[in-house]
């Protein structure tokens, strides 16, 4: 087997007469963090949904861990985990019960232990026995991501994982994503924030007008921009830097 975890060739998808994906090509290597960048409505979620077997494409092909998403969808589902754009947690169950539920469905040997481990890892131990619909947006998002890590899938899709999180929680998520990739997990994430892609991704692809218009490492992409602009960005402290300085949080970097 090759070291390609996700392969997308000429992927096409239309909703009625809205042509969303018009031939998307990219591949993601094993253990890599790959960021799919694009503005609202670019088709990021559509791409992720096709790769996670929720949606059928109209043309082209896509495979995950060597399995075709359409023809071997059951195999694909055994290899992946999806954290959708909006937190998908069972509000009536507690945080712990949510994790135990997923662990049981994934056939994890010790569901309770897995749940406890993830609760501490995501700072949800104190809230573990509270109903998830009483969680703040950020807590629900953390639980949501924790649920995706149950059973250590080989490939994880994260659709805008940090949208709606405060800077502190965002750094936590970034740290987790890095750790997962270091542990060999392949991660495909989507984002609208250049900075997030810059900080996290090994490689970046920009989805625009239904196609990938640019892709490569950050350095490769930077060459596409005029150097003056790069300097300008480096001189300015971002709002986030200022915010973090004020709250006294230096973060994971």
């Amino acid at each position: 087997m090759t070291d390609v975890a996700i392969q997308v060739n000429d992927l096409r998808k239309s909703f009625k007469d809205a042509h969303v994906l018009k031939g998307v090509d990219f591949d993601v290597r094993r253990g890599e963090i790959f960021a799919l960048l694009g503005s609202n409505g670019a088709g990021k979620t559509t791409t992720i949904n096709i790769l996670s077997t929720l949606l059928k494409s109209d043309g082209g092909s896509a495979s995950v861990c060597g399995f075709d998403v359409q023809r071997q969808s059951e195999k694909v589902r055994e290899s992946i985990s999806l954290t959708g754009q909006f937190a998908a947690v069972d509000g009536i169950l507690t945080g712990r019960e949510n994790l135990v539920l997923i662990a049981k469905l994934r056939g994890v040997a010790d569901a309770r232990k897995t749940a406890d481990m993830l609760l501490s890892r995501f700072g949800l131990r104190d809230a573990a026995n509270r109903r998830a619909d009483a969680y703040s947006g950020g807590m629900a998002r953390r639980l949501d991501i924790a649920m995706s890590l149950v059973g250590t899938p080989a490939v994880i899709f994260l659709d805008e994982p940090t949208t709606g999180l405060d800077p502190e929680a965002r750094l936590e998520v970034w740290k987790t994503v890095k750790e997962l990739a270091d542990g060999g997990t392949t991660i495909l994430l989507t984002t609208q924030h250049l900075e997030e892609a810059e900080r996290l991704a090994d490689r970046i692809a920009i989805l625009h007008g239904g196609k990938i218009i640019a892709s490569g490492t950050l350095d490769e992409l930077k060459k596409l921009f005029p150097p003056a602009e790069v300097e300008y960005i480096e001189k300015q402290p971002s709002l986030e830097d200022i915010f973090l300085a004020i709250v006294g949080q230096t973060g994971g970097k």
Binding site: S81, L101, L105
Partner: protein, 250 residues
Amino acid sequence: MKILHDTEVLFGRSMRHILRSPDTIITVLITPLAMMLLFVYVFGGAIRAGTGAYVNYLLPGILLIAIASGIAYTALRLFTDRQKGLFARFHSMPVARSSILWAHVLTSLVSNAISVVVIVLIALLMGFRSGAGVLEWLEVTGILALFTLALTWLAVIPGLTAKSVEGASAFAYPLIFLPFISSAFVPTATMPAVVRVFAENQPVTAIVDTVRSLLNSEPIGNEIWIALVWCVGITVVAYFFAVRAYKRIV
């Protein structure tokens, strides 16, 4: 087996929903209980229906009304799962697809059984008596379970296709109304011809008459077969459309 295991896990989840929010059972019970009180203690004295206590006559219809309002929650729970993205989560996992629907269907059977038992107990306090033996009670349980199964699969359709919460539960209202135009409250004999034709040929009458005969140890005729055909027929047709609606979203 994977499908049984997944169904069991997901069934445990939705049963937990019910135990966490008992209001879903209480709201289901309020209307049929209020009707039972109203009909027995207010209208009952003026209604000529058979020879025994009116509550004996009324109970089967009340049970069907309770089931018809109970299944609205199945539609609601499916709708919520869809809206909250839980369907998407389960569908992107190695979970047996049919488990997801069957878990909800089983939950509906159990929660409606709880409502039915509560209503029967209250009816006993109100003077309901039955000479039915074990076999008759088993038959009654079977018919009510089949009726619940039929309406539950019917409820799965709006649960999977509705665009709003209201849409997901509104379909139950006509079902709750059906027993009024049947032999559930009064015998059909006094109804005007058109109404009577409808009343005598709709499923509720056959089911109510069968259950009533079984509970009162009266001889049952063809009614039981008509009742069974209705229940099985509705189940098959509703299942077909429910699975089709489900295929469209997975």
